[in-house]
Symmetry: C2
Subunit: 120 residues, 2 copies
């Protein structure tokens, strides 16, 4: 089976291919961040590119501090169009400092929704 767009998104992100990662999102995609008062903050397709650039920089900074953002293998839901990815931020000593879940909704082979939740 071909790799899902969710797998592709994380692989491209790991390669620091911002435009490739951005292309995984549908034109009408939304990224619902965990932070913000809506609750969460909604980013549209254009705003998602800025977010990916920010996250790429943040990832490099975190790595430079010996920390690691760890993403587990995507697991699909039985409805077939959603997948969860557990993630964590780990300190240099391996201690988990943050944990969360991304809930993805796929449409026509693209990411339609990236809904982020975390411990807080």
């Amino acid at each position: 089976m071909a790799k899902s767009v969710v797998h592709q998104f994380f692989e491209l992100g790991a390669k620091r291919d911002v435009d490739g990662a951005w292309d995984c999102f549908a034109e009408d995609a939304v990224w619902l961040a965990s932070e913000g008062s809506e609750p969460g903050t909604t980013y549209n397709k254009a705003e998602i590119r800025d977010l990916l650039v920010q996250m790429d920089k943040l990832g490099a900074e975190v790595a430079a501090q010996g920390m690691a953002g760890v993403f587990e293998e995507p697991v699909f839901l039985v409805n077939g169009d959603q997948a969860v990815v557990e993630w964590s931020l780990r300190a240099a000593d391996g201690k988990i400092v943050e944990r969360g879940i991304d809930l993805f909704t796929i449409k026509d082979g693209k990411i339609l929704v990236k809904d982020v939740f975390r411990k807080a």
Copy 2:
């Protein structure tokens, strides 16, 4: 197909059957709350009963204020032993004031892990 223990848990909770809801958890179950510094706080089986009593009281208080805790239908993951439940807290006017996800892990027909994440 028989209803899953996750379905049973929410049905018993809605009926305010605290002991029935508690019985849905395995003896070695953990409830990983979204709040707390571990990140999240870990409650064991004995502590889960206190938590259920607290949440039952809180649910009644919230309802008395015209607010509603809304739990979506559980959706299983393709691995067969996990399920996600999206939840929200809504004000009297229907406005969503908080959203989150419970990620359940099932073992031998009981809840082994209830891992709670939210917007924050």
